[in-house]
Symmetry: C2
């Protein structure tokens, strides 16, 4: 007789890039998950998920999907978490584990934790992985391999529940770190939210150019700009919610960035060659650090 | 009897990423180049170039290298072009073609053209290709394949000389466009110079963080930031020279960018969800344009 899977029934809510990638991870490992229920508010996505064989059944009503589930994964834009938590809260099974994949942790905890009934374990998480593509067809099981997943369980969370979520991400190939949610939000404001905001801005600036110049910009798009357009092709609703929900940390880092850009602008205007060369040299160290940390 | 190569003797001055990649292109095609002479002010680079078999001989004195050359390629940071042109000008062979690979065209023409003797054909060029790596070991023959090379010959340049430089880049696998130098500088300010400046700035902002936060930023570096650190690892002297020599176009586009960033910052501060989503949606169009133009 084989042992039961770690999670006999799993509900994944939101089958976009992250949710559908996780579904693929869960499907690939029968010792990890038994029955897999998908929920997505889009009936078209539900149909596609079944076509792709990513779940045993698919529901447009998340309350139906979570009933009886041992693990519930919220993989929706973070702005949708509050209403979603309110809708599923009363239907969560006692002893169930609830986790999420949102890119901001304080706001998700603020929105979700009050809806979690006693006896249900809420273990917030954030896999630092993604591509610029969206939807259930964009997912793939290796998305999380070699990438970090940060968990931010509130003080007093059941250690056994945390360990089970750790095991989920370990099976996905991730490295796991436990962190305080406010610290997570500050770190991610720098490494992810500001870069996306800048990329959206610069591509927006190019969008506003006179028509003939814009077509030349597209035609002769060089490596820097090309990378930015890729980043700026990320899911608009997901990113809108991130900026609105990590407002303080993002505004603080924009402020620092703007001061630094203004200093560089001034150095260019006044022809300060040494200032420019000095800055351009020291930024190489961070790159080396990232290569050494094998995240390049 | 075989026909002589298109350029019986070629001198490449500056054996960094671009110069050494071009040397590899020239070496691979005996119908393109005969003797290949390398010049680099660094004796160590000259020695390495010979070890790598990239040239028949290598000189630290560019005047020696250009003597008798049918094609002379300047592949040095653009700030070095004025002195270099003055040094080689008197030694250029009548009928020779002089070209360059600089990322700014008006400044290079301003610095080089006055040093070009009558009877020598100056055809300025700019291959839109590169990586974040530098030096003769970083080059590779396929660097230019499928990429644009923009030529900006002054009015009245000998069409036969232009056609020979076009053929050089065609053999490198590039697509060729002829453009007015001022227009080139404006387009590149947007597609290449501003993105690099932004990447240098954001990585610099991260460099200034408190030590413990900085180490976390490196450790949990997500895709946006990782891409920026790669761009910001580009050659510091080359980029210093680009910003100093395309000052007006770069300052103009920084100004537009800053206005747009300020508008986004304000939308985040005031929670203007629709403004954010609208911008994040329309930037996808430019990405689509780039994919359609097969430059992604």
């Amino acid at each position: 007789m084989t042992a039961p899977p770690l999670f006999p029934r799993v509900a994944v809510i939101g089958l976009g890039l992250i949710g559908s990638s996780l579904a693929r991870v869960l499907r690939a490992d029968p010792t990890l998950a038994g029955e897999l229920v998908a929920a997505d508010r889009s009936a078209a996505v539900c149909a596609r998920v079944l076509e792709l064989g990513l779940a045993d059944r698919a529901e447009t009503d998340p309350a139906c999907a979570v009933a009886g589930a041992d693990l519930v994964i919220l993989a929706v834009p973070i702005g949708a978490c509050a209403d979603l938590a309110a809708a599923i809260g009363p239907h969560l099974k006692p002893g169930a584990i609830l986790t999420d994949v949102g890119s901001v942790k304080q706001a998700v905890i603020r929105d979700v934790a009050p809806q979690v009934p006693d006896g249900v374990h809420f273990v917030p998480g954030h896999p630092i992985a993604g591509t610029e593509h969206s939807g259930p067809d964009a997912g793939f099981a290796d998305l999380f391999r070699g990438r970090w997943c940060i968990l931010t369980p509130p003080p007093g969370t059941d250690p056994a529940a945390v360990e089970k979520v750790v095991e989920l991400w370990r099976r996905a190939g991730s490295m796991i770190e436990v962190m305080e949610p406010g610290h997570h939000d500050r770190v991610l404001a720098i490494t992810s939210h500001l870069p996306h905001l800048i990329a959206y801005t610069i591509v927006g600036t190019a969008t506003d150019l006179e028509e003939h110049l814009k077509s030349e910009v597209i035609r002769f798009s060089a490596s820097g700009f090309r990378d930015f357009t890729r980043i700026a092709a990320s899911d608009p609703v997901m990113w809108r919610d991130i900026f609105l929900n990590n407002r303080e940390a993002v505004l603080e880092i924009i402020q620092r960035f703007t001061e630094d850009l203004t200093a560089l602008q001034r150095a260019i205007r006044w022809g300060e060659a040494e200032t420019l060369e000095h800055l351009f040299t020291r930024t190489r160290d961070i790159r080396r650090g990232i290569i050494d940390a094998r995240q390049a």
